[in-house]
């Protein structure tokens, strides 16, 4: 079967590429565009490691055939850090708050957090738990992740939404 031609906006950049029919957004990101931050943990929409933002909404990218989202605005973890690689508030809060261990759930968690904070800059703890309820973490026990997201929200509010944080150890 001939490949399908796809045009989407990925992290503010127009991208065009060919895929096998039926390729998911996750597959397209990882295999055509070299954007491997989104992970494949189950292929069934139950683990959340594939979480990306499509047209402003956090979705399981393993469940979305990329052919159904022509022209969509797609955001992945690779687009989160600022110019020069400086971490955004969520990344910095995860880093400084020890909210990542093996790292496999981290991309999905950060993208779920980004979607939450874009809609709700002052979330309650319950709001955070709801936002990450589709993201499984087997390492941290979730508390450090929840705290990091609340911390990130506070940092972002304190600086009016833009904060440049030095990355590194």
């Amino acid at each position: 079967m001939p490949k399908s031609y796809i045009e989407v906006l990925v992290n503010d950049e127009p991208r065009e590429f060919l895929v096998q029919p039926g390729t998911t957004l996750l597959g397209a990101l990882r295999e055509e565009l070299g954007l491997t931050a989104a992970k494949r943990g189950c292929g069934q929409g139950t683990c959340g490691t594939c979480t990306c933002i499509v047209d402003g909404e956090a979705v399981m990218s393993c469940l979305v055939p990329v052919e159904t989202i022509q022209g969509a605005d797609v955001r992945t973890l690779e687009g989160v850090a600022r110019d020069g690689g400086e971490l955004d508030e969520v990344q910095a809060a995860f880093l400084e708050g020890f909210a990542t261990q093996c790292g496999f759930c981290t991309s999905g968690m950060i993208m779920a957090a980004q979607a939450l904070l874009a809609e709700n800059p002052d979330p309650s703890r319950e709001d955070v738990v709801r936002a990450i309820s589709g993201n499984v973490c087997r390492c941290t026990g979730y508390e450090s992740i929840i705290n990091a997201i609340l911390d990130a929200a506070q940092r972002r509010r304190a600086t009016g939404g833009v904060q440049y944080v030095e990355g590194g150890v």
């Binding site: 096998q20 295999e31 491997t36 880093l95 261990q101 790292g103 087997r138 990355g167």
Partner: protein, 469 residues
């Protein structure tokens, strides 16, 4: 908001402390955390070499059966399938984790020759140009089974009339000629006869799946110099390297393992069950090959923590002193050994728990059944044993109407005590830990229990006959 560092309590064990710590007690950033939060950490599946082939297994649908016929022709007919590997393609068809140090017997084939011992056991490997083609090929393989009696219970497996499911003729791992690991310390029967109470209870745990967020897998890439580059999410790169070399019958230098990035291991990624066959596939096709578990395979096929059945019989005096402990323990290794013989040894050595009990008898069996082979997980051999022992302590306390912390304190082991497997206890701290925990939760302890230490000798009233330790 930086993480708060814990204060180290330096009031304990004041003599003999050597704690000029520079790093312990301070928050230290993980070296890979920056990669995690930027999405740049490389997991094995983030590699996408050109020409990548995909390996999926055709798996047994029976718990225990002879393989009368395996027809791979229908799989080869599926568009996209390029090869099917059988046991004949495996140079040295044994996976045993400790082969390298000569621990026998070799009991798990990479691919079975004549029979399957658990539902889900891989039978043949289908290699194809896409995952879907490999899955279709695996589905197409036709297997003719002749069912054999199924053994699913550890005690039934050890009955005299049980079907022996293993080629070495028993349903238990043989420990230097014995049917189990044995601890014999003192005389439990004499102590039971003298005890004020005898309590016996039974404990049962289920297999527990690690459920890592990243499934088990590897990508093997043939190199220009004829070597194989193995990208694996194994927890144990050298297990992978060594066992794969033995199975492939190649010099160790032919293999290059890139790993150390594990999306959750917990003990579930220490067996070498994917890389060897993926290597054989890469060599056979001269192409990169990926073999990764789907989520259902990870949950059902990958090794879990062993289920255990444990009987604990205690002889206890009215004041709570435990004078005898008899433990009969069964580890359900499932169909193959993997790490279970080692785990069962640990289980035996761990008895009777952190308590000074003068008479101890343990039989710890590593039992084979037609279940998914169990293996390592977070303190395997010890963790479930502790569940049984500590449940037992709570039940004894309840039966004697005694504070469960008191019961533990008066039986706690101390430095200098001889443990049942004949090692002298040192560096013990159970008493202090219980005291501190009690204080933290506001649980009052009487004065004499608040002041005891792992250094203070047990008083005569609390020590009983120790016969021939």
């Amino acid at each position: 908001m930086a993480i708060q560092s814990e204060q180290i309590d330096r009031s304990y064990f004041a003599e003999g402390r050597d704690d000029d710590f520079d790093v312990i007690g301070t928050p230290v950033q993980r070296s890979d955390a920056l990669g995690h939060v930027t999405g740049r950490t490389e997991f094995f599946e983030d590699r996408n070499p050109p020409g990548l082939l995909h390996l999926k297994m055709a798996r047994s649908e029976r718990h225990h059966a002879l393989l009368k016929a395996v027809d791979v022709a229908p799989a080869l007919a599926v568009p996209g399938v390029v090869k099917v590997l059988t046991h004949a393609d495996v140079p040295a068809n044994w996976y045993t984790i400790l082969r390298l140090i000569g621990v026998e017997p070799n009991d798990e084939p990479v691919l079975p020759e004549d029979r399957v011992l658990y539902k889900g056991e891989p039978i043949v490997a289908v290699i194809a140009t896409s995952e879907q083609a490999a899955l279709q090929g695996a589905r197409a393989v036709e297997v003719t089974y002749e069912d054999l009696p199924v053994v699913l219970d550890v005690e039934e497996a050890l009955a005299d009339d049980a079907t022996a499911i293993k080629p070495h003729g028993t349903n238990y791992f043989v420990y230097e000629g014995h049917h189990c690991r044995r601890i014999r310390f003192g005389d439990v029967d004499a102590a039971f006869a003298e005890a004020d109470h005898v309590f016996e209870w039974r404990y049962q745990s289920s297999p527990i799946e690690h459920a890592p967020t990243e499934t088990t897998g590897c990508i093997v890439i043939p190199q220009a110099d004829g070597r194989l580059l193995i990208h694996s999410d194994t927890q144990a790169c050298f297990f992978t390297l060594d066992n794969t070399a033995l199975i492939l019958e190649v010099p160790f230098g032919k293999l290059r393992v890139m790993g150390g990035t594990v999306g959750g291991g917990f003990g579930g990624k220490v067996d070498v069950t994917l890389e060897p066959i993926a290597c054989i596939a890469a060599m056979a096709t001269n192409k990169p090959v990926k073999y990764v578990y789907g989520r259902e395979e990870e949950m059902q096929i990958s090794s879990p923590r062993a289920a255990e059945r444990i009987y604990v019989k205690d002889g206890v005096m009215d004041d709570g002193t435990i004078v005898a402990r008899k433990v009969t323990l069964y580890v359900d290794a499932g169909a193959y050994s993997r790490h279970s013989p080692y785990g069962t040894t640990k289980a035996a050595a761990h008895m009777p728990g952190p308590y000074n009990i003068p008479n101890v008898w343990v039989d710890a069996h590593c039992v084979y059944t037609n279940r998914t082979p169990s293996s390592a997980m977070r303190g395997f051999g010890v963790t479930i044993g502790d569940f049984a022992l500590e449940s037992q302590m709570d039940r004894i306390a309840r039966a004697l109407d005694m504070d469960p912390l008191h019961l533990r304190l008066i039986n706690a082991y101390r430095d200098g005590d001889m443990k049942a497997h004949r090692k002298v206890a040192e560096g013990t701290a159970l008493i202090e830990v219980i005291q501190q925990a009690a204080q933290l939760v506001g649980h009052e302890l009487p004065a004499e229990l608040r002041t005891m230490t792992v250094y203070s000798p047990a008083s005569d009233g609390w020590t009983f006959l120790i016969k021939n330790p």
